[in-house]
C-alpha cells in the first residue's frame, strides 16, 4: 500500500498556510533590493574577507533560507493536524478529527420479530438514535438499509442529528431479505464518496444493527464477503462494529407456499388451494389454525399439527361463483413474527377456459374438441371453438386461453406474426402435424433460428418410415405425462402411431414424450410468457399416408383411451403461462398487459402501505404493457384503468419464506473485526468511541521548535562571521 494512503489531515485547509513558506524566499529576494549604502574606506580588508569566505557565506545563507522555509511548511503541516492511521478496530482509543458513522440497519423482515410487542427494527432505530445522540459536534452520519437490494437512505453524510433521527423514524422495513455483499459494496461506495467530499471526517465507523439472521449473514464466510470486510477494515481510520439485536432459540411458524392445483380457476370446476405451513421451532406445534380467506372473507378453516422443523400441507377446495378477479389468502394465528403468517394468491376466475381449434381441413380438430370438452353442459369447464385457417387473422386471439392447430398446410407471414405475438403475451399454443403440413413452410415461418422469432419448440426434419411406433413416457418425468405414472394400462404406452415427423428440439425446449424409437413426440418450450407445444404426429385419423397400399393413417391416437387425458394435460400445460406474473415475490417486477385498442395512456396502481402510483402504458406489438418495480411490501396490488374505478387486475406479492428461518449465524463465524466489537458491546463499551489514528501535530511542533533553535544557532554563527 502506498505510504501516502495512510495520511489523513484533520483540517486539510490549514495546509494553505504552507504558502507562507514563500515568505522567507520573498524576503530574501526583496532584501536583495533593500540595503543601506555607506561610504567605506577600509575596502581592501572587506574585499579580502569576501574573497576568502564567499562559499561559506553562500552556503550558510542557503541553509538559513531552507531552515526558515521548512519551519513554515512544518508549521502549516502541524496546523493541518496530520493523522497517520494504523488500523486497530477495537473500540475505544484516541480522539482527534471527526467521525463518519455509517449506520447499517438490517432491513430483512426477520427484523419484524417482536419482543414485548416491539419489533427488532424499532430497537435498531432506537440504538442508532442513541448513537447519534452520543456523537460529537461535527460528526457525520450515513444511513444504509440492508435489503434486497440495499437502500442508501443517507449517502452524503448528514451532520444534523435531528435530520438523521427523522430519517431513522421514517425508515420502513421492506418485506424481503437482505443482501450482505451488495450492502458491503454500498458501504464501500459511501465511504469512498465521503472521503472525497468530507476529508475532515478522518475516522469512520461502520455500525451494523442486525439480528445476525443466518439467511442474511450466511454469506459472511464466502471469500467475496471476507475480502470486502477486510478491505473495509483496512481503510485508514475505519472500524467496524455490530449491535446484535437477535436472540438464540427463537420460534416461528410461517405459511411458505400457497397455490392452486389447476393453472386457471373457472366457475365450472372447483378450485383447490394448497397451503404449506412450515415450522421453524424445535418442538411440535399442534393444532395450528389455518384459515382461507377469499377476497378478505373467511371461507374455510382447518387445524393442523406441524412437526418440529417440519411442514404440514393444507388443502382448501373452493368453488367460485363469479367470474372476476379474486384474491385468496391463507392465514395463521399471529405469532411474534406476524409478517410471514399469511400468503396471498391472485385468482382471476373465468367462466370457462376458452380454446380455439383451427383446422387445416374440416374435421381435423373434432377429436380434440371432444376430448377437451366431452360434456355438453351449459357451464363447461372448457369452451372450444372450431374454425378454419382464416380465423387466425380474422378473430381476436387474445380472447382465447389456448389455440390448437390441427394439420395446417402452410402459414402466411402475417399468420405467423399474429400467432407469435399471441404466445409471447401469454397464450398457449398446441400444434398437431399431419399429412398436409409443409415442413419447410413450418420451419421457415414458425421455426426461426433466433429464440426471439421462434414459435415452434423444434425444427422439423423429415417424415419417418412407416412402421408401428409407440410412446416412450421418458420415466414420466414431465408434468404432462406424470399423471400416467403407475397407470401402465391407461393406453399411453400402446398408442399406435405409424408415421410422424422427425424433429430436432431447440436448446430451451423439453421433450415431454418420445416415440419408442427415441425420436421426440411431444416437445414443449416457453415462448415469451406463453407456452408452445408441438406434437410430431397427427391427432386426427384423417391424416393418411397415401404412398402405401393400402393407404395407412398416421395414427390411431385420437381414438385411443390415452388421448383425452393426455390432451387435457397438454391444455393445462399450454395455459400455464396465461396468468403468469400475477403472483410474485417482494422485489420482483409487476408487469401487466392490456389488450390492444385501449385508449388510456396510463394505469393506476394501488398497493399496501398506501402505495398509489400512475404507471404509463408502453405500446409494443399490439398490446399495451405497464410495469412496476417498487414491490417492497407484501400484499395485494391492484391495477386499473383510470376510467374504471374497480375491476382491475389484481396481483399478489408474497415474501420469500427463507427469511422466516430465525436461525442465527454463530458468532465465531464472523470475521475478527466484527467479533471484537461484539465482545466490546457486550461488555457495555460505547459505540461512539472513536476509531484509531494518531496525532502528529505535536511531534511536528517539536520539530518546528528544534528547527527554530537550529535556525537561531546558524544565524548566530553566521552573525559571528562563521568559525
Amino acid at each position: 500500500m502506498p505510504p501516502l494512503a495512510f495520511w489523513q489531515f484533520g483540517s486539510a485547509a490549514m495546509l494553505l498556510w504552507a504558502i507562507a513558506a514563500a515568505v522567507p524566499i520573498l524576503i530574501h529576494l526583496w532584501s536583495r533590493h533593500r540595503y543601506q549604502q555607506l561610504p567605506w574606506g577600509a575596502m581592501q580588508f572587506l574585499l579580502a574577507a569576501m574573497r576568502k569566505n564567499a562559499r561559506r557565506i553562500q552556503l550558510t545563507q542557503w541553509l538559513l533560507l531552507a531552515l526558515r522555509t521548512l519551519i513554515l511548511v512544518l508549521f502549516a503541516l502541524a496546523l493541518a493536524n496530520p493523522l497517520l492511521s494504523l488500523v486497530s478496530p477495537a473500540l475505544g482509543g484516541g480522539s482527534g478529527g471527526r467521525t463518519l458513522y455509517v449506520l447499517v440497519i438490517d432491513g430483512s423482515y426477520s427484523m419484524d420479530y417482536r419482543r414485548e410487542g416491539l419489533p427488532r427494527l424499532d430497537e435498531a432505530k432506537e440504538s442508532a438514535r442513541q448513537l447519534v445522540g452520543d456523537g460529537q459536534q461535527g460528526d457525520g452520519y450515513a444511513l444504509i438499509l440492508m435489503g434486497q437490494p440495499p437502500r442508501v437512505v443517507i449517502g452524503d453524510p448528514a451532520f444534523d442529528p435531528d435530520d438523521v433521527s427523522q430519517e431513522l423514524s421514517s425508515l420502513e422495513m421492506p418485506h424481503a431479505g437482505a443482501n450482505l455483499p451488495q450492502t458491503l459494496a454500498e458501504i464501500e461506495a459511501t465511504l469512498a464518496s465521503a472521503r472525497e467530499k468530507h476529508p475532515r471526517l478522518v475516522q469512520r465507523r461502520v455500525v451494523f444493527f442486525t439480528d445476525l439472521g443466518r439467511t442474511t449473514w450466511q454469506d459472511v464466510t464466502t471469500a467475496d464477503v471476507k475480502q470486502r470486510l477486510a478491505r473495509l477494515a483496512d481503510l485508514p481510520g475505519t472500524s467496524l462494529a455490530l449491535v446484535d439485536l437477535g436472540q438464540p432459540q427463537e420460534q416461528n411458524l410461517a405459511v411458505t407456499r400457497l397455490e392452486m392445483t389447476q393453472p386457471l380457476a373457472t366457475l365450472a370446476a372447483e378450485s383447490v388451494f394448497q397451503a404449506e405451513i412450515q415450522s421453524f421451532a424445535d418442538q411440535e406445534m399442534p393444532r395450528q389454525s389455518v384459515e382461507l380467506l377469499i377476497d378478505g372473507m373467511r371461507v374455510a378453516a382447518q387445524q393442523v399439527d406441524v412437526p418440529p422443523r417440519g411442514r404440514a400441507n393444507v388443502s382448501f377446495p373452493y368453488r367460485f361463483d363469479a367470474a372476476a378477479e379474486h384474491v385468496a389468502q391463507v392465514r395463521l394465528a399471529d405469532d411474534r413474527l406476524p409478517l410471514d403468517n399469511q400468503r396471498w394468491l391472485s385468482v382471476p376466475v373465468r367462466e370457462a377456459i376458452r380454446v380455439l381449434c383451427v383446422y387445416g381441413r374440416p374435421g381435423e380438430t373434432r377429436h380434440i374438441a371432444l376430448a377437451l370438452s366431452p360434456q355438453r353442459t351449459d357451464r363447461p369447464a372448457v369452451r372450444v371453438t372450431e374454425a378454419g385457417e382464416s380465423t387466425i387473422l380474422e378473430s381476436d386471439l387474445a380472447t382465447y386461453d389456448c389455440v390448437v392447430l390441427g394439420n395446417i398446410g402452410r402459414f402466411s407471414r402475417d399468420e405467423a406474426a399474429v400467432l407469435t405475438q399471441y404466445v409471447r403475451s401469454g397464450g398457449g399454443l398446441i400444434v398437431f402435424l399431419g399429412d398436409q403440413a409443409q415442413l419447410d413452410n413450418y420451419n421457415q415461418e414458425l421455426g426461426g433460428e433466433q429464440a426471439e422469432e421462434r414459435l415452434l419448440p423444434a425444427r422439423l426434419l423429415s417424415l419417418s418410415e412407416e412402421a408401428k411406433y409407440g410412446f416412450d413416457p421418458l420415466e414420466y418425468r414431465h408434468p404432462i405425462v406424470a399423471p400416467f405414472r403407475g397407470f401402465d394400462k391407461s393406453g399411453l404406452l400402446t398408442t399406435p402411431i405409424w408415421k410422424y415427423v422427425r424433429m430436432t428440439p431447440s436448446e430451451q425446449a423439453t421433450v415431454a414424450l418420445a416415440f419408442s424409437g427415441g425420436d421426440p413426440a411431444l416437445v414443449e418450450e416457453r415462448i415469451g410468457r406463453g407456452v408452445s407445444l408441438l406434437f410430431a404426429s397427427a391427432a386426427s385419423p384423417q391424416s393418411i399416408d397415401r404412398t402405401t397400399d393400402p393407404p395407412t393413417p398416421w395414427s390411431a391416437f385420437a381414438s385411443w383411451p390415452s388421448f383425452p387425458p393426455l390432451i387435457q394435460e397438454v391444455l393445462l400445460r399450454a395455459i400455464s403461462g396465461r396468468e403468469e406474473g400475477r403472483n410474485v415475490r417482494v422485489g420482483d417486477e409487476l408487469v401487466g398487459t392490456l389488450p390492444s385498442g385501449t385508449s388510456e395512456s396510463a394505469v393506476q396502481l394501488s398497493g399496501p402501505r398506501g402505495i398509489s402510483q400512475r404507471l404509463p402504458l408502453a405500446v409494443s406489438g399490439g398490446e399495451s404493457t405497464w410495469s412496476f418495480t417498487g414491490t417492497s411490501s407484501s400484499g395485494i396490488y391492484e391495477a386499473h384503468l383510470d376510467a374504471a374505478a374497480s375491476g382491475g387486475q389484481k396481483f399478489a406479492v408474497n415474501i420469500d419464506p427463507r427469511e422466516s428461518d430465525l436461525e442465527r449465524v454463530p458468532a465465531d463465524s464472523l470475521p475478527e473485526q466484527i467479533r471484537l466489537s461484539l465482545d466490546a458491546s457486550a461488555s457495555g463499551s460505547s459505540l461512539t468511541a472513536a476509531a484509531p489514528g494518531s496525532e502528529y501535530f505535536r511531534m511536528i511542533l517539536f520539530a518546528v521548535l528544534g528547527l527554530l533553535a537550529c535556525e537561531s544557532l546558524v544565524a548566530w554563527w553566521t552573525g559571528k562571521g562563521g568559525a
Binding site: A42, L46, A48
Partner: protein
C-alpha cells in the same frame, strides 16, 4: 596631586567649527589639567656644558658637576630650542570616513591632533612643519618656530582637499628625500595601503635618522565592523562598490584588519618607531596623554 583632565570628547569638538577653535579648546583643556608642561624631551640630545648665568632654568643645572666643582654648569643640548617637528597628514579620501555623523571624521580628528601638537611645539619655541598628501604631496610647509606660524599651519590643514590615494610608500621615499633636517616625523594616517611598501617608505625616514611616530587614526567602525543591515559599501578610493551582509563577514573582516594592524605595528617597532593607534571616538586628551607618556618613557 594631578587634577583629572577634562575630557575632550570628539563629539564636543565636532560641534565647534574651525580648526583653530578646536585646537584652542583642546590645548586649553589639556594644559589646564596638567601641572607639568609636557614640552620636555622632544628629541633633545646632550652636547656640552656651559656656565650658569642668572635667568637660566635651574632644572638644567648639572648637579653632579656642582658636587664635584662647586660651580654651576648647565647642560647644553644640541638644537636646544630648535626641535623640528614634521607633521605628516594623510588627506586622502579614506580619511574622510566617519561612522558617526555627529562625530569627527578620521581626517578631522587627525587635523585636531596635528593642530594641537603644532600648538604645543610652537609654544615651546620649537619649529613645526606640515606635509599633507594623498596620491602625492599636496602641500609642504617648512618648519618655523614663530607663533604666527601656527596660523599658517592651521590654514593649510583646513584647506586641504581630499583626493585619491595611491601607494604611500613612494610618497614617504620622496618626503624623506625632501626633509633634509633631522627631526621628529609625526605621521597621521589610516595607513590603508600595502604594508611592505609602507614600511619600505618609512625605513627611508629612519635612514635619514628621523625620529618617526606613527599615529594610526582609525574609525571605531573600521575596527569592529559592527554593521547589521545588508549594506552596499561605496568605496572611497579606487575599489569597486560591494554589497554584503555584514554580520556574516564580520569575523573574517576583523581577522583581515587585525592582521594588517599587527603587521604594521610589528614593522614600526622593528624600526624603533612609535606606533600609536588613535581611534576617533577616544577623547583627544586621552590620546594625547597616551601618546606623550609613551614618548616620554622612550626618551628617558
Amino acid at each position: 596631586m594631578a587634577q583629572a583632565p577634562i575630557s575632550i570628547d570628539p563629539r564636543t569638538l565636532a560641534k565647534l567649527s574651525g580648526l583653530h577653535l578646536r585646537a584652542r579648546h583642546i590645548v586649553e583643556g589639556y594644559v589646564a589639567g596638567l601641572h607639568r608642561s609636557p614640552y620636555h624631551g622632544f628629541s633633545i640630545e646632550f652636547a656640552e656644558h656651559r656656565e650658569y648665568a642668572p635667568g637660566d632654568d635651574l632644572k638644567y643645572v648639572d648637579w653632579k658637576v656642582f658636587g664635584r666643582t662647586d660651580k654651576f654648569y648647565l647642560k647644553q643640548y644640541e638644537d636646544e630650542t630648535n626641535l623640528l617637528a614634521y607633521l605628516v597628514l594623510d588627506v586622502s579620501e579614506s580619511m574622510t570616513y566617519k561612522s558617526d555623523p555627529k562625530s569627527l571624521s578620521k581626517l578631522e580628528y587627525a587635523q585636531c591632533l596635528a593642530a594641537t601638537v603644532a600648538w604645543l611645539v610652537l609654544q615651546q619655541q620649537d619649529a613645526a612643519g606640515l606635509v599633507t598628501f594623498d596620491s602625492q604631496i599636496r602641500s609642504l610647509v617648512r618648519p618655523a618656530s614663530s607663533p604666527q606660524h601656527l596660523q599658517q599651519l592651521l590654514h593649510v590643514m583646513e584647506s586641504a582637499t581630499s583626493g585619491k590615494k595611491t601607494a604611500a610608500g613612494p610618497i614617504f621615499h620622496e618626503l624623506a628625500e625632501r626633509l633634509k633636517k633631522r627631526g621628529v616625523v609625526i605621521i597621521l594616517s589610516d595607513f590603508f595601503d600595502d604594508v611592505p611598501s609602507l614600511l619600505a617608505g618609512l625605513k627611508h625616514f629612519r635612514h635619514r635618522r628621523h625620529d618617526v611616530i606613527l599615529l594610526h587614526v582609525l574609525d571605531p567602525a573600521e575596527i569592529s565592523f559592527q554593521f547589521q543591515r545588508p549594506t552596499q559599501f561605496l568605496a572611497l578610493e579606487e575599489f569597486p562598490d560591494v554589497l554584503v551582509d555584514p554580520p556574516s563577514l564580520r569575523k573574517a573582516y576583523q581577522r583581515e584588519f587585525s592582521a594588517f594592524q599587527k603587521h604594521l605595528e610589528q614593522g614600526a617597532r622593528s624600526m624603533a618607531m612609535d606606533y600609536v593607534v588613535v581611534p576617533t571616538d577616544r577623547p583627544l586628551d586621552v590620546t594625547l596623554s597616551a601618546f606623550l607618556s609613551s614618548r616620554m618613557a622612550r626618551v628617558r
